[in-house]
C-alpha cells in the first residue's frame, strides 16, 4: 500500500482498541522472567562457549604484539580471536567504528581481542593474562581545542546541510534592538541502558544465527553481512526483547562481531556480553557539543534574527551532532542561519542517543530563549507564544501538518500554576531551599518509514502478526496488537504478536521516534489485505464488510472471522510505503515542559520538586505506553540537566567515569511525581494510523527547563551542562 494523500476515515477511527489505555501485553512475561533477552537463550543451543571482549588500553596508536601464551594455557580457553588471525574486517554502513581493532587503535577500549573459553569466568581470567605491547601515538581528545580546526561535515542521510541561511542574518542581528550572543556546552553522555550489549551467535555451516539486542534488525543484517563479508541471506538476527536501547543499540556493535567471529573460530555457539565498564568507551555515545546562539528581537519580543552555530567531534567518518535541527523549525524569525562544524576526535564514536541533535540543541536554545525573555522583560511563556509559527520558518509554503505548541504552553502554564512564577531570581525561599520555576518548549521530528508486516488468521480466529520490528521497552508489541485487533474486529486476546526476528517482513525498527507510526502502519496495510482476503473467502463484498466482535458482517449476512481461515490459515502480507507528504508538510511533535526546583541555599544541592510535560504528538495509540515514554524521557532529561557527563581525560584520551558508579543517572529519589498531559490530535498526513511517535519528544527541552528553574531559584546562570552544585556554590546568594 502506498500512502500518498492525507488519510480519510478508516477502521482505526473506531478507537475501540486503539487509543485505549492498555497495559503492555508482554508484561506478564517480563515480570515472571519468561521474556528472553539475548543472553538468556539457554535452550536454543547446546554447549555454548563464552567470549570476553578485551578493550584497547590506549586511546590511539597501534598494537605491536599480543602475547597470548599464558592466556592460551589458562583453564578452559578455546580460542583467542584478534585482527591478526581474522584478517581485515570492513566497517558497517551506519557506524564508522572498526569493531575489532588492530594493528591500529582508533580509540580507548576499542576491541582488540576476544578470548573464548568454556565459562565466562575462565574467559575473563584468561583475558587478564593477555599482555599487549602498544605504541602510543598522539591523539585529539579535546573538543574545545579542536574547535577552530573543525570542518564542515558532508551532508547525507541523517546529516543536514552544514550551513543554512534565510534572509540576512548578519544585518538583522546587527540592527536588532535587543540581542543575545552566548555559548553553551553539552557533555558526552552515555545511553546507560539496563541491559548491556549482548549476543549469542551460532553457525550452522555457512549460515549464522545471532540472538542479539539491536534496535534495527534489517540494518543489523546489512551491516553484519558487510563487516563479515557473508551474504545477508545467510544471516538471521533475533531480538525478541531489548532491555533498553535509547539509540545505543541501533545496529551492529562489537558484541555481535565478537560473538560471530568467536563462534566461527571455535565451531561452538558463543555468548558475548560487554562488561559494563567497557560499554562507555567501546560503543557509541551522545557526543559533546559547543553551541553559540545569537538572537535578535524587537522590543515587543518578536524574533528578527536567529543564529545557531554548533561544534561537535567524532572519529573519522563519523557524523556530526545535528543540534541545529530544532532551531530551524522552532520559532518564527525572518533572518536565520545555522552552521555545523565537525572536529576529528580520537574518542569513541558519537552517534544517536534519544532525540539526537534535538535534545542537545534544545538544551542550548531554550536557555537562550529564557535569557532573551529576561532581557525583554517578558514572561518566558509569552515570549515563546508570540514567536510561534504555523509554517516552516525556512519555507512559508510548507505548513506544519499539525502544531499545537501554543496550546501546550498555555495548557501547561495553567495546570502547573505558572502564574505563581516570580520573575525575579532568588526571590523565593522555603526553609533552607531556594525555589524556582522554569519552562521550555519541545520539538521532535515525526518521521515515518516504510514498514512491512504479515498477518495470519487461523481457524480459531487467532490473528498472528509478524514483522521484524523491535520492542525496546517502548510498547511496540502492544500497539501492534491494538492495531490488528482494531482492524480485524477482535479482542487483544485474539492477537499474537511476533517481533524481533529478521526472517519476518522488514520494518524500520526502533529509532528516530519513527517506530510506532511506521510499524503500526505496516500492520495496517497487511490487515487491509487480510480483510480483503477474508471477505473474498466468505464471499462477502469487500467494501461493505464490517469486522466486529470476531465476526464479519455485510448486509444481513454474518460469519465468524475464523470461518474465513478454512482448514489452513489465511495469510496476507504488505508493506506501507509513502509519497511526498513529508515534503509538503513539516511534521513534528511538540511539547512544553514546566519544572520547579529547590536549590539548597547552603550546599547548592539541586532537587527537582515538580515536573509537568504537555505533549502534542498525533493520535495517541496507547495513552499508558505514551505516558511511560514521556516520563521515562523526562527522567532522562533530569539526568542530562543535573548529572550525566562522561568526563574526558584529555591527556590519556578516554571517558574516565566508565561505570554506573561514576556515570550517575537519576535514581528514584531524584524523581518527583511527573505529570503528563497528552493533547488530542490526529494527523492524517502521517499515515492511515494518523499517529506520530512520542518516544523521544519527552527528553527535548527538559534539561533547559531545569537549568532555567535553577536560574530562577538562584540567579546563577549555568550554560555548561550538567548543572552541578560546584558551578553554583561560589555564586549563591547569602543564606537567609
Amino acid at each position: 500500500m502506498k500512502f500518498t494523500t492525507p488519510a480519510g476515515p478508516n477502521p482505526t477511527d473506531q478507537q475501540r482498541v486503539i487509543g485505549k489505555p492498555t497495559s503492555r501485553i508482554e508484561g506478564p512475561l517480563k515480570t515472571t522472567g519468561q521474556a528472553k533477552y539475548a543472553y538468556e537463550y539457554n535452550e536454543e543451543v547446546s554447549n555454548p562457549a563464552y567470549g570476553y571482549v578485551v578493550g584497547a588500553g590506549i586511546a590511539r596508536g597501534r598494537i605491536e604484539a599480543i602475547h597470548q601464551t599464558r592466556a592460551k594455557l589458562s583453564p578452559g580457553v578455546l580460542a583467542i580471536v584478534t585482527a591478526a588471525n581474522i584478517g581485515p574486517l570492513r566497517t558497517g554502513l551506519f557506524y564508522t567504528d572498526r569493531l575489532l581493532a588492530g594493528p591500529t587503535i582508533d580509540h580507548y577500549h576499542q576491541a582488540v581481542a576476544i578470548v573464548v573459553a568454556e565459562t565466562f569466568e575462565q574467559a575473563r581470567a584468561a583475558a587478564a593474562l593477555l599482555r599487549i605491547d602498544y605504541v602510543r601515538e598522539e591523539g585529539a581528545f579535546d573538543l574545545a581545542a579542536g574547535k577552530d580546526s573543525a570542518q564542515a561535515p558532508p551532508a547525507g542521510p541523517f546529516s543536514p546541510p552544514a550551513e543554512t541561511s534565510v534572509g540576512d542574518f548578519a544585518t538583522a542581528f546587527a540592527s536588532a534592538p535587543v540581542t543575545l550572543d552566548e555559548t553553551y556546552t553539552t557533555p558526552d553522555q552515555s545511553h546507560a541502558m539496563m541491559e548491556p550489549h549482548a549476543t549469542m551467535a551460532s553457525w550452522d555451516g555457512d549460515r549464522l544465527t545471532c540472538w542479539c539486542t539491536i534496535q534495527q534488525l534489517s540494518w543489523g543484517v546489512r551491516d553484519l553481512a558487510h563487516i563479515l563479508d557473508v551474504p545477508a541471506a545467510n544471516i538471521r538476527l533475533i531480538s525478541s526483547y531489548i532491555g533498553g536501547g535509547f539509540g545505543g543499540k541501533g545496529t551492529v556493535l562489537s558484541d555481535l562481531v565478537a560473538a560471530a567471529l568467536a563462534a566461527r573460530a571455535t565451531g561452538r555457539p558463543v555468548k558475548v556480553t560487554l562488561q559494563r565498564p567497557l560499554i562507555f568507551n567501546n560503543t557509541i555515545h551522545r557526543p559533546a557539543t559547543i553551541q553559540r546562539i545569537r538572537l535578535g528581537a524587537t522590543p515587543d519580543g518578536k524574533l528578527t534574527a536567529i543564529g545557531h552555530e554548533s561544534w561537535s567531534g567524532n572519529l573519522r567518518g563519523g557524523r556530526t551532532e545535528t543540534t541545529i535541527a530544532s532551531t530551524r523549525l522552532m520559532y518564527a524569525g525572518a533572518n536565520r542561519m545555522t552552521k555545523l562544524r565537525l572536529a576529528i576526535l580520537d574518542l569513541a564514536e558519537g552517534s544517536a542517543m534519544r532525540a539526537p541533535g534535538e535534545a542537545s540543541g534544545m538544551m542550548a536554545l531554550e536557555i537562550a530563549m529564557d535569557e532573551m525573555a529576561e532581557k525583554l522583560a517578558m514572561d518566558p511563556v509569552e515570549f515563546r507564544i508570540i514567536n510561534d509559527t504555523q509554517v516552516d520558518p525556512e519555507n512559508s509554503a510548507r505548513p506544519f501538518s499539525t502544531r499545537l505548541l501554543v496550546e501546550c504552553l498555555k495548557t501547561g502554564a495553567e495546570r502547573f500554576g505558572w502564574s505563581q512564577h516570580n520573575a525575579t531570581p532568588a526571590a523565593v525561599r522555603e526553609g533552607q531551599w531556594l525555589v524556582g520555576m522554569g519552562v521550555a518548549s519541545a520539538i521532535r521530528g515525526a518521521p515515518v518509514m516504510p514498514c512491512a508486516a504479515r498477518v495470519r488468521l487461523d481457524r480459531n480466529g487467532i490473528v498472528t502478526v509478524e514483522t521484524d520490528m523491535t520492542d525496546i521497552g517502548t510498547g511496540s508489541y502492544t500497539i501492534i496488537a491494538q492495531t490488528a485487533a482494531e482492524m480485524m474486529g477482535i479482542g487483544l486476546d485474539q492477537v499474537v504478536v511476533k517481533l524481533g526476528d529478521s526472517i519476518f517482513p522488514v520494518s524500520p525498527g526502533s529509532a528516530g521516534q519513527w517506530g510506532a507510526a511506521s510499524a503500526t502502519s505496516g500492520v495496517y496495510a497487511a490487515c487491509v489485505k487480510l480483510r480483503e482476503a477474508v471477505a473474498t473467502a466468505l464471499e462477502l463484498p469487500v467494501d461493505e464488510a464490517r469486522f466486529e466482535d470476531g465476526r464479519v458482517i455485510a448486509g444481513d449476512r454474518s460469519f465468524p472471522l475464523a470461518d474465513a481461515a478454512g482448514a489452513e490459515e489465511l495469510v496476507a502480507e504488505d508493506e506501507m510505503t509513502y509519497g511526498d507528504l513529508g515534503r509538503q508538510y513539516a511534521r513534528d511533535t511538540f511539547g512544553a515542559h514546566f519544572v520547579e526546583v529547590g536549590v539548597h541555599q547552603y550546599t547548592g544541592e539541586i532537587r527537582v520538586r515538580r515536573m509537568l510535560a504537555v505533549a502534542h504528538a498525533g493520535r495517541i495509540l496507547n495513552p499508558t505506553a505514551a505516558r511511560s515514554q514521556m516520563i521515562g524521557a523526562m527522567t532522562m532529561g533530569v539526568g542530562a540537566a543535573l548529572m550525566e557527563k562522561m568526563e574526558v581525560d584529555t591527556r590519556v584520551g578516554f571517558f574516565v567515569n566508565h561505570d554506573l558508579a561514576g556515570y550517575e543517572v537519576p535514581v528514584h529519589a531524584d524523581i518527583p511525581h511527573l505529570d503528563v498531559v497528552l493533547l488530542e490530535d490526529s494527523d492524517p498526513t502521517m499515515s492511515p494510523m494518523k499517529a506520530k511517535g512520542i518516544g523521544e519528544l519527552g527528553i527535548v527541552g527538559v534539561a533547559a527547563a531545569i537549568a532555567n528553574a535553577v536560574y530562577n531559584a538562584t540567579g546563577v546562570r549555568v550554560r555548561d551542562y550538567p548543572v552541578t552544585l560546584d558551578k553554583l556554590i561560589d555564586k549563591l546568594p547569602v543564606p537567609a
Binding site: G604, D649, D726
Partner: protein, 316 residues
C-alpha cells in the same frame, strides 16, 4: 577474576591460624567491595578466608558505658539498633546515607571500615595508579579529580576514603579492636587507623598482614545534637562529594568530622574548638594546608557552607 581457593572458618582462632598459614590470603565477610574488585582484578587474592560465620555479630554494652559492636554486625542492624539511634545518632544517620538497603544488609562493620577508594583511575587497570600498582604513578592528580581529595594527599595519590560510617565513627572517637595470627590483641583509635598515602598509597591502614578486626568500641555517649549531612550530585546511592558529621552541644562546642575530602575521615581538635566562631573559622583551620586541584577546590567552599547549614539548622 583470578582463580582462588576458599575456606570458611568458625572461630577467631581458626581465622587467625588460616591467615598465618596462607600468605596473600584475604578475609571476606559481606564481600560488597572485595568481590567487585576481584572481578576487575584490582584485588587478586589467592585464597579467601570467609569470616562471615564468626560469632562477632552482636552489639553489647561496654563496661565503661559505651557499646562494643561486633565486626560482623551488618550496617542495617547497626543503623537500626535502638541504643545507636538514641545515643549515637550521627552513626545511624551516616550508615543510612550510604549505599542501598540491599548492600547495607550484606555489608559488615569491619568490612565497611576497609572499603577501598572509588577513584576512577584506581578502578581502571590500564591507568597509572600508585594505590593499585605501586610505582606506576598517579593519573588522577592532573586528570579527572572532581571527586578526589583536597587535603591529606601526596604527589603519589589523591584518592579519598569513600565511606560514611567511618566519618561518624571518627567524630565519636571509636576504637577498633583486632587480633592477629599469634592471638595478640590491640585497640586502635580510629584517628590512628587510616594512613595518609605519602609514598606508599597502596597501604590504606595500619592493620598488619594477619590482623583481623573483631569489634569496634564506641566510648560512652557524649550527648549533643547529632547530624550527618552528605552532599552528592544525586539524591541517593552516590559517594559523597563532601559529608560532615557534627555533634553539637548546647553551649556551642562540639565535634566535626568531614568525609569525601581526604584519604581518611578528616577531623582536627584545633579546628573544632573554633565551632563557636562559626563554620568558616572551623573550615579554614581544618583545611589549612589543603592542596586542591582546579576541579575539586569547590569542596573547600562546599564544606564551609554545608557546615554553616548544619549549624544554622541546629539553632532552629
Amino acid at each position: 577474576m583470578k582463580a582462588f581457593t576458599y575456606e570458611r572458618v568458625r572461630t577467631v582462632a581458626e581465622a587467625a591460624a588460616a591467615r598465618a598459614r596462607t600468605p596473600g590470603a584475604k578475609f571476606i565477610a559481606g564481600g560488597t567491595n572485595l568481590l567487585d574488585l576481584m572481578k576487575l582484578q584490582i584485588e587478586t587474592p589467592e585464597h579467601l578466608i570467609d569470616v562471615g560465620k564468626l560469632p562477632l555479630n552482636t552489639i553489647e554494652p561496654a563496661p565503661d558505658g559505651g557499646l562494643r559492636i561486633g565486626a560482623l554486625v551488618s550496617n542495617t542492624k547497626l543503623a537500626a539498633d535502638i541504643r545507636v539511634r538514641r545515643d549515637y545518632g550521627v552513626l545511624s544517620r551516616a550508615i543510612l546515607a550510604g549505599a542501598s538497603g540491599q548492600l547495607r544488609n550484606k555489608a559488615t562493620t569491619a568490612g565497611n571500615l576497609l572499603q577501598r577508594t572509588r577513584c576512577p583511575y584506581f578502578y581502571d587497570t590500564n591507568q597509572a595508579c600508585n594505590k593499585r600498582k605501586p610505582g606506576s604513578g598517579c593519573a588522577a592528580i592532573e586528570g579527572s579529580s572532581r571527586s578526589l581529595a583536597v587535603i591529606g594527599g601526596s604527589s603519589s595519590c589523591i584518592a579519598t576514603y569513600p565511606g560514611d560510617m567511618a566519618v561518624a565513627m571518627m567524630a565519636l572517637d571509636a576504637v577498633i579492636e583486632t587480633v592477629d595470627a599469634r592471638g595478640a590483641t590491640r585497640s586502635i583509635p580510629i584517628a590512628e587507623f587510616y594512613r595518609l598515602p605519602g609514598e606508599t598509597p597502596h597501604i590504606d591502614n595500619v592493620l598488619t598482614e594477619s590482623e583481623l578486626i573483631t569489634s569496634v568500641v564506641l566510648p560512652p555517649p557524649v550527648g549533643g545534637k547529632h547530624t550527618y549531612y552528605k552532599v552528592r550530585d544525586r539524591a541517593s546511592y552516590a559517594f559523597a562529594l563532601v559529608s560532615v558529621a557534627v555533634i553539637l552541644q548546647e553551649n556551642g562546642t562540639g565535634r566535626v568530622a568531614v568525609g569525601g575530602v581526604a584519604p581518611r575521615p578528616w577531623r582536627s581538635r584545633e579546628a573544632e574548638v573554633l565551632l563557636p566562631s562559626g563554620a568558616q573559622a572551623v573550615t579554614d583551620k581544618l583545611f589549612a594546608g589543603a592542596n586542591p586541584t582546579e576541579e575539586n577546590k569547590y569542596k573547600l567552599t562546599l564544606v564551609a557552607r554545608t557546615l554553616a547549614g548544619v549549624l544554622n539548622e541546629a539553632k532552629r
